[in-house]
């Protein structure tokens, strides 16, 4: 295992991590502000990817595709919030789980009905394709590097939004005391719709960005959704900072575990059983990480009273 390969894998882990952050940020905001567990967040990711693939196919422009992904996911999020989600805020978590599970069924089959069962492909634009040379002679795909950049930029933007803007003040106040915020004249149901649409837009953006390196297909959202759950459980539900740290931890653990564990087992096993044992264990690694964090801190790393 060379150092260059290791650095490449660290970058891959970072890339997975920041994309998970885009998903986890929306989930954790929606939970922190509205107290809602939303299984259909993965469907919004899928909608973003499909909207991007459709627009990129029609116009050939990657930027337009990203705009379409943001708009489609935000619109879908706002509609779902207005029609279904707002009836669930004062229900128990069981009702929320089931209603959003029902939304997944509707979104997945609806998408299959419109786009068919075959995966779509979203290609990387020419100006972002190909490798770049990093210091130390490392060749790394420019597109993946761009993803890391976009993810970090969104993270910074989100921190500024929450800590510096009027909307951010309202969001933080809404987390602390919903009645008081309403009494002070903030339209709380509009705030909820905006927060939900914001989370949806982030998920849609992640879907479109990841859709170019994987295929765009029905059911693509749920594996990412579950990883995002692991992220916010590790980070602490409701905490944006926790979501970022958790996402990077999960991204790095998953990527490096998949590479390093088989190598580790080769030290004392034959090559083929080392790679099968190693990869089987690597697939469980993030869940073991989660179990360890919870054993030590049941509310997650940055979780307050959730």
């Amino acid at each position: 295992m060379s150092l260059i390969l290791l650095i490449e894998q660290v970058l891959n882990g970072l890339q997975l991590g920041v994309m998970l952050f885009l998903m986890a940020a929306g989930l954790t905001l929606v939970f922190g502000v509205m107290g809602l567990i939303n299984l259909a967040h993965g469907s919004l990711y899928m909608i973003g990817a499909f909207a991007a693939a459709a627009v990129a196919g029609a116009t050939g422009s990657f930027l337009l595709a990203l705009v379409a992904a943001l708009a489609a996911a935000a619109a879908a999020g706002a509609i779902v919030e207005l029609v279904v989600i707002r009836r669930l805020y004062d229900r128990d978590h069981l009702d929320q789980v089931l209603a959003t599970f029902a939304l997944i069924l509707i979104f997945s089959e609806g998408t299959r009905y419109i786009f068919g069962s075959f995966p779509l492909y979203l290609s990387i634009p020419d100006y972002l394709s190909g490798p770049v040379s990093l210091p130390g002679g490392i060749q790394y795909p420019l597109y993946r590097l761009t993803l890391i950049g976009i993810g970090l930029a969104v993270a910074v933007g989100l921190f500024l939004l929450i800590s510096r803007t009027r909307l951010g003040v309202q969001i933080r106040a809404g987390e602390a005391d919903r009645e008081m915020v309403a009494a002070l004249g903030v339209d709380i149901s509009k705030l909820y719709t905006i927060v939900f649409a914001l989370g949806a837009a982030l998920a849609g953006l992640a879907g479109a960005l990841v859709g170019t390196i994987q295929s765009v297909q029905v059911g693509m959202g749920e594996p990412v959704l579950i990883l995002a759950f692991v992220v916010i459980v590790i980070g602490g539900i409701g905490s944006i900072k926790g979501a970022l740290i958790g996402a990077l931890l999960v991204g790095l653990t998953d990527t490096l575990g998949g590479v390093l564990l088989p190598e580790l087992f080769k030290l004392f096993m034959d090559a083929s059983s080392a790679s099968s044992t190693g990869s089987a264990l690597a697939s469980m690694l993030i869940y073991l990480l989660m179990a360890a964090v919870l054993f030590w801190k049941p509310k997650g790393l940055f979780g307050g009273a959730a």
């Binding site: 599970f101 069924l105 759950f229 539900i237």
Partner: protein, 327 residues
């Protein structure tokens, strides 16, 4: 309005009468559908012990369902290949005997539930939902990436396992086995709900502090309920694998956890026969709507949404109107 007890009897009698009628008129496919209902209802009864009695919203019960399935798959595949599972420290061979397979499934499901419960039950509310979901996924990915037992392709068993004195290849006899196990599990739920343990568990759901003040440990009560729940669902998994003579990682998939939960909701939460009504409705819808449209999940989703938003008692709640007995 109907009494819940009468409705339960009608439901179970119906679940028995339909396959018997199908047996008389020689329609084995209907018997298989009824067997599916009985097995999935059994999985739901398992979850209902944690969810209905204990208020534990586990979205990871596919883990136990899959463990039961793989207990059957691994034991039977070793037996059909005449290849012992391990020889040291003692000889451990596969088996084609259902009682042994069931016992193994129940024990393995119980051990897994104990380990998952020890960690997950330290948390509550939405954390618990997400953690059980994540543990379910852990088993799913492990079963895909572990190549010894088929990996992603799963394991096929050529001949259904045997039960002493019965011909399990005959659909009606296999149905009878599953139906009896379902009745036993319902009896277990009924007994638990009325026992001191069940009352304490229900009290812990409503007011944790009071139960502690009475000198009981809510964590321990919940852990016991979770383990029993995992055992019953694992038994259902073993039967489900035997019904299909096939086990694959899809039994561990999180959609499976969701579906088991859907059975309970469609039927009615905390109702003894809620999972039976729910599984019957689910399979009927799957069969009919699946024939009408390839996209029947849209209708299922819409129905589920309507039940959650507007008819919270589910099927049994709509017919009985009275609140569940212990609320």
């Amino acid at each position: 309005m109907m009494r819940e007890r009468h409705l339960n009897l009608i439901l179970l009698a119906g679940l028995l009468a339909i396959p018997v009628w199908a047996w008389i008129t020689d329609e084995p496919f209907t018997i298989t559908l009824a067997t599916r209902v009985a097995i999935l209802a059994l999985a739901g009864v398992g979850l209902n012990i944690a969810l209905g009695l204990g208020g534990l919203v586990s979205l990871g019960h596919a883990a136990f369902f899959g463990i039961g399935g793989y207990a059957m798959g691994i034991l039977a595949s070793h037996a059909q290949n005449y290849d012992p599972i391990f020889t040291t420290p003692f000889l451990f061979e596969g088996t084609k005997s259902m009682p042994v397979i069931w016992l193994t499934a129940i024990v393995m499901g119980g051990i897994a539930a104990l380990l998952i419960g020890l960690i997950s039950l330290r948390t509550s509310g939405v954390y618990f939902i997400m953690i059980t979901l994540a543990f379910g996924q852990m088993f799913y990915f492990f079963s895909i990436s572990w190549p010894a037992y088929g990996g992603e392709d799963g394991l096929s068993i050529w001949v259904r396992n045997g039960f002493p004195g019965l011909n399990t290849l005959d659909p009606i006899q296999f149905f009878a086995l599953c139906f009896v196990l379902l009745l036993l599990a319902l009896g277990l739920h009924w007994t638990l709900a009325r026992s001191g343990f069940g009352l304490a568990l229900n009290a812990a759901r409503q007011s944790e502090a009071r139960v502690e003040a009475a000198g009981l440990t809510p964590f321990r009560l919940r852990l016991v309920a979770f383990v029993i729940s995992g055992m019953v669902t694992a038994l259902a998994g073993a039967l489900f694998a035997d019904l299909n003579r096939f086990v694959s990682p899809t039994m561990f998939a999180w959609q499976m956890s969701g579906e088991i939960m859907v059975f309970i909701i469609l039927g009615g939460v905390a109702r003894l026969c809620g999972p039976v009504a729910g599984a019957a409705l689910f399979i009927t819808l799957e069969h009919w709507l699946g024939g009408v449209s390839d996209y029947w999940h849209v209708f299922l989703g819409a129905l589920l949404l309507l039940v959650v938003l507007f008819a919270r008692g589910g099927l049994i709640g709509a017919l009985v109107k009275k609140e569940p007995a212990h609320d």
